[in-house]
């Protein structure tokens, strides 16, 4: 579904991604590990098409179409969705209105109030300005609400569990499983996902098929998510640089 080939990306003239290759097939969920500053967020924002992230070399194929130079909204309409790590607050734009917009381009039969309730978003939240005064956990849940409405084929999740309290972590994980068809048998899964996680906690609930470690703008190694996470916990990211895998 997603095929990234030799991707080089510069931000403000500084080279961040340096020849990255990554393929995610339909039905697969991948995890992406990496230190702060390794380029994880740059990668998902580039896949989404953010204007400040300039592709200097390489290309991004989505459903076999070259999307390297498409604007954000066209990528969204093609079926790419993003849950932000730190989304901006927007005065006067109500959460419900934005979720309705997302549904117009995705799941048109989406029942906002009903779904909101299942992920512990109270009704009065829907009439609030999006992200304004929301706690870290509230931001993550409302991001997921919008993605459920948008119903994308490729789901990009940037630190979906950061700031989420223990009480809600399982709920967030289960919701992601739903978004990614992880609640279905493997042959019935059609969604693909890429989850950025620094600490890896979310992977206890969301079973990723594969994981990658990003070091200095390149994928340094790939493998079993649990094993990679254990290695990182035991040896640190520094060892990934040396690892011959």
């Amino acid at each position: 579904m997603l095929d990234i080939q030799n991707l080089h990306v510069a931000v403000d003239g500084k080279s961040i991604l340096k020849g990255l290759d990554l393929s995610i097939n339909e039905g697969e969920t991948h995890a992406l590990f990496g230190q702060n500053g390794s380029g994880k967020t740059t990668l998902v924002l580039t896949i989404m098409g953010f204007p400040g992230y300039r592709v200097t070399e390489g290309r991004i194929l989505f459903k076999k179409e070259d999307i390297t130079h498409l604007p954000i909204n066209e990528r969204a309409r093609l079926g790419i969705g993003l849950s932000f790590q730190h989304p901006p607050a927007i005065h006067g734009v109500k959460l419900k209105d934005l979720t309705e917009i997302a549904a117009q381009h995705g799941n048109s039969a989406f029942k906002i109030e009903e779904v909101a309730e299942t992920i512990h978003i109270p009704p009065d939240f829907l009439t609030r300005d999006v992200n304004l005064g929301f706690s870290g956990g509230e931001v993550k849940r409302t991001e997921l609400l919008q993605l459920l409405a948008q119903n994308p084929d490729l789901v990009l999740l940037d630190e979906p569990d950061s700031g989420v309290d223990l009480e809600n972590i399982a709920l967030v994980g289960e919701t992601i499983n739903k978004l990614l068809d992880r609640d279905k048998r493997s042959r019935e899964r059609h969604k693909a996902g890429l989850i950025i996680t620094h600490a890896g906690g979310i992977l206890k609930i969301v079973q990723a098929d594969k994981a990658h470690v990003l070091v200095d703008g390149q994928i340094a190694c790939s493998g079993n998510p649990g094993e990679l996470l254990n290695d990182i916990c035991e040896l640190g990211y520094e060892e990934c640089v040396k690892c011959p895998r």
Binding site: N73, A76, R77, P87, A102
Partner: protein, 407 residues
């Protein structure tokens, strides 16, 4: 000398007096005379294009959800009616004939010699409305009033009196606009508000003038003990020159003045708009909130809070959004504390839309233009307490029907 003679003399002396703010408008290029228009039995009898154009400024010819209506076409009051008990809606000329006491209110909240425009309204007077809620009368459905300017090169010089008597509740929506085909004209509107003890009055004014029309409203209000006056002003359509600086005097204990302004200046528009609140008694409160957007035009957004009593509270807020490559917003917030113990604050911010807000909305499928429009509409979507839902909806509708906004 009689009071009338004295007022006339003062007005005569102010004929050439330039206003403190705003470009000077040469009044000689306008006429104050217009052919009389026939009265109509219902607003539905007005020309259809006038009905449709009035709808855009919140004046609904069907009169649904309204408890009274007033319509002035050029200098003629063609319709006035109310269905609310103990609320009067009359032409001000008729009211002056009917009530001798009304002369005590005439030019009480606005000085007749404030500038050449008040002088013009006094000397070349062309009617206006009188709206009064009697003591204890409460109307939730608003009264609607329309000032319609259709005569080419007319100076429409109106004088309105609004009285909310003791303990009453009154909501008014005023729509002012010019006929689409009019290219040159000026509207001079004097409005005097008297909000008596314990009364609540909301006044929502939606303006839609033409790109070659000058507008000089002159408003003053006197707010008594425990009374609340909510003033909402919306001008989102092109106007050549708009200058107004209404003054709210909170004269009684615990009087409250709330002023909200939404302004959008397209290329070629000049707006110098503000609000001044004078807090003269204990526990008086004021909020002056402005949201301004320029897409090539110039906006001077003024606010002034003057605290004359130790135990008063007030807040000024001006947020400005710069769209496009040119245009100007000049925010002038002023706090004037004349005694110790006043609690007054202000915040002002002028800038462009954050790119991260646009890109965020685009990830949900909106185009860049639609994302910008959504942010602009959201910027103007202020929650106003104390205004009936129908009026809040009219303000929202005015925002949503502004074409080209954010593009």
């Amino acid at each position: 000398m009689s009071k009338v003679d004295e007022l006339t003399e003062r007005a005569e002396k102010a004929r050439e007096k330039k206003a403190a703010y705003g470009p000077d408008i040469p009044l000689e290029s306008y006429t104050s005379k217009a052919p009389a228009h026939e009265k109509v039995q219902t607003l539905k009898m007005l020309p259809t294009n006038y009905q449709n154009q009035s709808l855009g400024v919140g004046v609904d010819a069907s009169e649904d959800e309204r408890s009274g209506s007033f319509f002035q076409l050029d200098t003629s009051v063609v319709y006035s009616k109310t269905s609310a008990p103990n609320v009067e809606v009359l032409s001000v000329t008729e009211a002056l004939d009917k009530y001798d006491w009304l002369k005590d209110y005439w030019w009480k909240a606005v000085a007749v010699d404030a500038d050449k425009y008040t002088a013009q309204a006094a000397l070349e007077f062309s009617n206006g409305y009188f709206i009064r809620a009697k003591a204890g009368a409460k109307t939730i459905l608003p009264i609607q009033a329309c000032m319609f300017l259709a005569q080419e090169s007319l100076s429409q010089n109106v004088h309105n009196i609004i009285i909310a008597e003791k303990g009453s509740e009154l909501h008014i929506i005023t729509g002012c606009r010019t006929a689409d085909e009019l290219s040159h004209g000026i509207h001079v509107g004097v409005s005097e508000f008297f909000i008596k003890e314990g009364a609540t009055c909301s006044f929502t004014m939606i303006h839609n003038w033409g790109p070659e029309v000058a507008v000089r409203p002159r408003s003053g209000s006197i707010i008594e003990k425990d009374a609340t006056f909510i003033s909402n002003y919306v001008c989102l359509k092109p106007v050549k020159s708009l200058q107004m600086y209404p003054v709210f005097r909170c004269v009684g204990e615990n009087a409250t003045a709330l002023s909200y302004s939404l302004l959008y200046a397209a290329d070629g528009s000049h707006m110098d708009v503000g609000a001044r609140v004078i807090l003269e008694a204990a526990q008086c409160k004021a909020d002056v909130i402005a949201r301004t957007i320029t897409n090539g035009g110039e906006i001077i957004s003024r606010g002034n809070l003057t605290g004359l009593h130790p135990d008063v509270k007030g807040h000024l807020e001006c947020r400005g959004l710069l769209l496009g490559d040119h245009g100007r917003i000049f925010a002038v917030p002023e706090l004037d504390g004349a005694v110790p113990g006043v609690d007054m604050s202000h915040e002002a911010a002028v800038g462009k839309i954050a790119e991260e807000e646009i890109t965020y909305l685009m990830t949900r499928g909106l185009s860049e233009d639609d994302a910008t429009s959504a942010i602009v509409r959201g910027f103007l979507d202020i929650e106003i307490k104390g205004v009936p839902p129908a009026l809040q909806e009219e303000m929202r509708r005015a925002v949503h029907t502004t074409e080209g906004m954010g593009l």
